[in-house]
Amino acid sequence: MRPALKPQPMSKSGAIKLNDTGEIGAGESLDRRRPGTSMNTRATTSSRRIAFDPAPQDDFFLPDFCAARMVLSIVLALELLALTLALARPSGTVFLTELARISLFMQWLGLTAAAALCYSRRWLAKLSVPVAALTAFSLLTVNVVIVSEVVFLLGRSLAERGVIVSFFPDSHWTFLLRNVGISAIVSIMLLRYFFVAHQWSLHVRAEARARINALQARIRPHFFFNTMNTIASLTRTDPSRAEEAVADLADLFRATMRDSVEPSRMSEEQELCRTYLRIEKLRLGDRLTIQWQMADALTLGIVPSLTIQPLLENAIHHGIEPLDGGGTVWITGELSDDDIVITVTNPVTEMTGRFIRPGNRLALENIRERLSLAYGERGRVDVTEEEGSYTVTLRFPYEE
């Protein structure tokens, strides 16, 4: 099955306007950007929302019986059931013949049932759960009656022509009633199973989403209060910068508050990072240097929202703030084998290294979890520690 939270852009056309103002080149520090351009970029952010369906399949409890994997499962399950029935036959019958005969009949029965459910699924999905279950049950029963009748009539017409095939049943009503009975029991069990499995998957999905929401809302309080303090100071000394900082902070919070399962465009996520870095730059001044190298090829890509910004927050909180003279955070982004690869590097000293782990780990786990929910094994977070530097690498498939 597909990962439940796989981003599915529903509309690729129109609506998404991207502008490329203010790319920060290598070695260029953030505060050299003109305030005007950044305001313009932000103004269009809200119109760039991308529709996102967290669950590709709808919320109906019956699975899609047309899917190849489903058909295969049905065939296998029916074969197991046929084997059970053949084993349960009294001694005196030839086992393999019994198995072949039961299998043949049941595969026909199963595949026609799957076809019936496949075609009626869209229609069933519109009904309430009990009505849909009852209808599905009736469909399966009607199906078994029809198949049984066809088989019986076929056997009789062959017999009338003088061809006696021991394969075919001889007693009409026993044959029909037994089949309906077995089918009814199996159908009820199956419908029940699908219903429970569906409930469970809904529950798992809801839980994952709740956890994402909770974790995502965490902007470090330390950062928030320090920023408020900076703004309080600027209101007197530099009101226009204070105003800009308020707008930046508002944008940042808007991003953390919106529906968390909605992914972002890379360009949007990058803009968010820059907004965040502008605030930190204001707060830390010369102590913070940013080296930003993002390949243009990434801008249209999709990324689960708020995956890069928390890395920057970690890098600054654990890597730059505890350093006496400050330091440099390196951010790179590139396309490699159809994967987006993002790295964030910050300096580590013996002193800062001691404390880097606890808070950092929480944010990394959050990102790791979200990437794996969205991309399965193709979404990865790796940490490398070298002499004096700490690098987090994100890797996930490029999708538009």
């Binding site: 309080p221 209060f225 309080a232 204001l282 703030e321 013996e350 404390f355």
Partner: protein
């Protein structure tokens, strides 16, 4: 010191935070800013130089945290009163309350600042130790303060080779010499358990400087310390610990 006027030293690593505090203190009656700085180390120097009556001390600063700076200040005979300022430090907060230690939350309100400055008191070393213990980043000092007449000299913990207790005092032996400090070996052992090992009833050795263990003919063990001539005796019960540690390296 002038009773009617409070001389305030402001310590914060963020320039905007300093500016704002400077302005707020300046607007208060009978308060005067005598100095501003951005690190704990500078603060210790400026306290020596300016003898402020109150220090407004940010907690999270690079190099030396505010809590550590306050601990060193508390060893001075004429220690100033301290008010901590913090944006959000979930750990220390509770300890501040229980230890009646003055603190202000950023962004700071003028009225609260006024009140805190006038109520500010000299902090006792015990209060500070308890506060520090609640904050993982400050639980372990990075410097040992040595009092030289009225001022403080700081010895980075990473330069300390060992501590040795005599009858009355504890001496700290470091790469730059030896000094007397007014602390107990038991508390030092506890605080620096991550990097120091008690090898004897009266000796606490930095693992960083451990060189070798030697056995004398009489059966007694000694350790050699990098950069020191004389070997140090090892208590009989500590031999096992020490050997295990050296093997693990």
């Amino acid at each position: 010191m002038n009773r009617s006027e409070l001389n305030v030293l402001i310590v914060d690593d963020e320039s905007h935070a300093r500016e704002r505090l400077e302005r707020l203190v300046g607007e208060l009656p009978r308060c005067k800013v005598v100095g501003l700085c951005g690190t704990g180390l500078e603060a210790l120097d400026l306290v020596n130089e300016l003898a402020p009556s109150v220090v407004l001390l940010d907690i999270r600063m690079p190099g030396m945290s505010g809590i550590e700076a306050a601990r060193h200040l508390s060893t001075l005979s004429e220690a100033p009163a301290v008010v901590f300022t913090t944006a959000y430090d979930e750990y220390a907060m509770e300890a501040f309350d229980t230890q009646a230690v003055g603190y202000l939350l950023k962004p700071i309100r003028k009225e609260r600042l006024d009140k805190a400055l006038h109520q500010a008191a000299r902090l006792t070393a015990t209060q500070l130790k308890l506060v520090a213990a609640s904050d993982p980043e400050s639980a372990q000092r990075q410097h040992i303060a040595v009092r030289v007449r009225d001022s403080l000299r700081l010895i980075p913990v990473k330069d300390v080779q060992f501590f040795r207790a005599d009858q009355k005092y504890v001496s700290v032996y470091h790469t730059g010499g030896e000094d007397l400090i007014d602390e107990s070996l038991t508390e030092l052992t506890e605080e620096f358990s991550a990097e120091f090992l008690r090898i004897h009833r009266s000796i606490l050795v930095s693992v960083r400087y451990l060189e070798a263990v030697e056995k004398e003919r009489a059966g007694r063990h000694f350790v050699r310390i990098r950069g020191r001539e004389e070997p140090l005796p090892v208590g009989r019960r500590q031999v096992g610990n020490l050997k295990r540690l050296l093997r693990g390296r």
